[in-house]
């Protein structure tokens, strides 16, 4: 669990970003529909949704690339402004650089506009994303993964306290994905806030402290990953005789529902009410010795499909 999450719990959350009633349409297509939520400081906030759910549109609005039709947003309690954007490291949709310039010269432009970092910092971020060897090569000669790394380097330049990343692992190989994950966790430990749009649910689950799930421009749910993922406790138990165990649990009736999957009995309880020790004691008293007992978290993927398919 990312330590930033524990920090968020200890102190009252300060909102890095507040969205209020954000709506956006492209002609007849409603891209965002009255979105409102807060992003707490020190969190790694994942924005999830199927293709076309409005993730990139949302990030574009908060970075002033697009104008919202309705609603407003506040960065640290203030309306968005160029001065604030200078302090935010961003990667939006695709790496956008001057094709005829090298990595170093492109980052010089980023530095010149944003004021973030300096010559030493440019060198440092290129090393961090493993682009240092190709720092003098033209952007047009880079592979997709290298272009993405440069975009991440630009976002990291000057060590901004807030990062907005749209599909940061797009085009990266598994090693690169793992490196970015570790980098985000490392930054979060130091108190950085990261807002991330991603399709890689597995990565979001490993990295994010909070999540908002969008579908067709509408917010389905938002909150801490722990709260969004789990709305019930699922206890998984098994014994030498799964059928007998299933019958016993069904007769007991303590759980909300009882089912059998892969020779394991699944007991569903309302969130926070499961007592594994009671289950274990009851089974033993009825002559069945359990060889496995665990509380299972609903995977984010399962929750994601559940929410977006309804």
């Amino acid at each position: 669990m990312p330590t930033g999450y524990l920090q968020c719990l200890k102190t009252p959350p300060v909102s890095v970003l507040t969205l209020q009633g954000i709506s956006k349409s492209y002609g007849k297509i409603r891209a965002l529909n009255n979105l409102s939520f807060d992003i707490p400081e020190g969190s790694i906030f994942g924005v999830l949704g199927p293709n076309g759910s409005g993730k990139t549109t949302l990030l574009s609005i908060i970075l002033d690339v697009l104008k919202a039709d309705n609603g407003h947003f506040l960065w640290f309690g203030h309306p968005g402004s160029p001065a604030q954007r200078k302090k935010i490291g961003s990667l939006l949709e695709t790496p956008n650089f001057y094709h005829y310039l090298s990595a170093i010269n492109n980052l010089k432009i980023t530095h010149s506009i944003s004021g973030r970092g300096d010559a030493a910092a440019i060198d440092s971020v290129l090393q961090k994303v493993n682009l240092h060897e190709r720092r003098n090569s033209r952007f047009s000669s880079y592979s997709l993964g290298m272009k993405q790394r440069l975009a991440i380097a630009a976002a990291l330049l000057g060590n901004p306290s807030v990062l907005v990343l749209d599909e940061p692992t797009n085009g990266l190989d598994p090693v690169g994905i793992a490196e970015i994950r570790e980098l985000m966790l490392e930054l979060n430990k130091k108190g950085h806030t990261i807002i991330m749009a991603s399709h890689l649910l597995d990565e979001v689950e490993k990295v994010c402290t909070h999540v908002a799930i969008l579908k067709k421009g509408t917010l389905l749910t938002t909150g801490a990953v722990e709260d969004v993922l789990v709305d019930e406790d699922v206890v998984e138990i098994s014994a030498a005789n799964p059928a007998a165990l299933l019958t016993l649990m069904q007769k007991w009736g303590a759980a909300q529902s009882v089912s059998l999957a892969d020779n394991r009995v699944l007991l569903v309880y309302p969130k926070g009410t499961a007592r594994p020790e009671d289950i274990n004691r009851y089974c033993f008293a009825q002559g069945i010795t359990l060889n496995h007992i665990a509380i299972k978290r609903k995977r984010l993927e399962a929750k994601f499909f559940e929410l977006t398919n309804n």
Binding site: V65, A83, R85, K86, S90, N96, F97, Y98, K108, I109
Partner: protein
């Protein structure tokens, strides 16, 4: 403003197309003028040189060379216009206009940056013209003195204003169309063919001078044809000289409208 200019210089100084086009312009201005000078000199070696002198005077000596060189050089404004169009359409092609905003420029800052680009290019071509005019004047004036040398130096200002106005129209084409080839094609067609033909048709077929208010024509009339054209129609030549100061005002108004529109549209557009 200085930081914006520095950032634009970071973009431009490594852009090869910029240096190529500036190099071509630097060859074109002296090229066309020295070619014209060569034709004049050749004519002056013929038996009819007295007639030539009577008709044409000496358009390549001071003070007239400022006017003559400005006129011939201004015919090639479409060459630096290529760079102006590329500088704005590249931003849309590579989506760096978006990235500049994301990194911390306001939309106004972005437009100021592009305005600086056009001003820079206008200043560079004006400098090139000035050097060529000075060189031609010095080499073709038998006894240059301060009075004759600088008498028509105001053509430098007129050239600068015309260049800025016409490069601003090139910018507008690139800004509206956002694709380099389309913008270049539309601009070239309009500039070289459509408007000049329309102005002539209106003037000669319909006896209507409304063409003088067309976008290119407004600034074109800042630099009327050189003095030797007066021999063909003295009244028209005098009128064209008298109209210059009106067209200074018209050009300034057009510039304000052009850039105000660009700033306004950029502020409203999704990037």
């Amino acid at each position: 403003m200085l930081q914006i200019a520095k950032t634009e210089w970071l973009k431009i100084k490594k852009y090869r197309a910029f240096w190529w086009v500036m190099g071509i312009t630097a060859l074109t201005y002296p090229g066309i003028n020295y070619m014209s000078l060569a034709i004049y000199k050749e004519a002056m070696t013929q038996k009819s040189k007295e007639l030539v002198k009577m008709l044409f005077g000496n358009p390549f000596s001071f003070p007239e060379t400022w006017h003559t060189t400005a006129y011939f050089s201004s015919l090639f404004i479409f060459i630096p216009a290529i760079v102006v169009i590329m500088l704005i359409t590249n931003e849309y092609t590579y989506k760096t206009n978006r990235q500049n905003i994301i990194d911390g420029w306001s939309r106004k800052d972005f437009m100021i940056a592009k305005l600086i680009d056009v001003i820079l290019l206008s200043a560079l071509v004006t400098l090139m013209y000035s050097v060529v005019a000075l060189a031609i004047g010095l080499s073709n004036t038998s006894d240059p003195n301060a009075a004759t040398t600088w008498q028509q130096v105001h053509y430098i200002g007129l050239f600068a204003l015309q260049s800025f106005s016409q490069l601003s129209l090139a910018f507008l084409a690139g800004f509206l169309l956002r694709k380099s080839f389309i913008a270049l094609a539309v601009f070239s067609f309009y500039f070289i063919i459509a408007e000049p033909v329309a102005v002539k048709i209106l003037k000669y077929k319909y006896h209507n001078e409304i063409g003088e208010f067309f976008p290119r024509e407004i600034s074109d009339r800042l630099l009327p044809a050189p003095a030797f054209f007066s021999k063909f129609n003295e009244a028209a030549y005098k009128t064209s000289l008298n109209d210059i100061h009106y067209h200074v005002y018209y050009t300034l108004i057009l510039l304000i409208i052009t850039w105000a529109f660009c700033f306004w549209l950029n502020n409203r557009r999704d990037l």
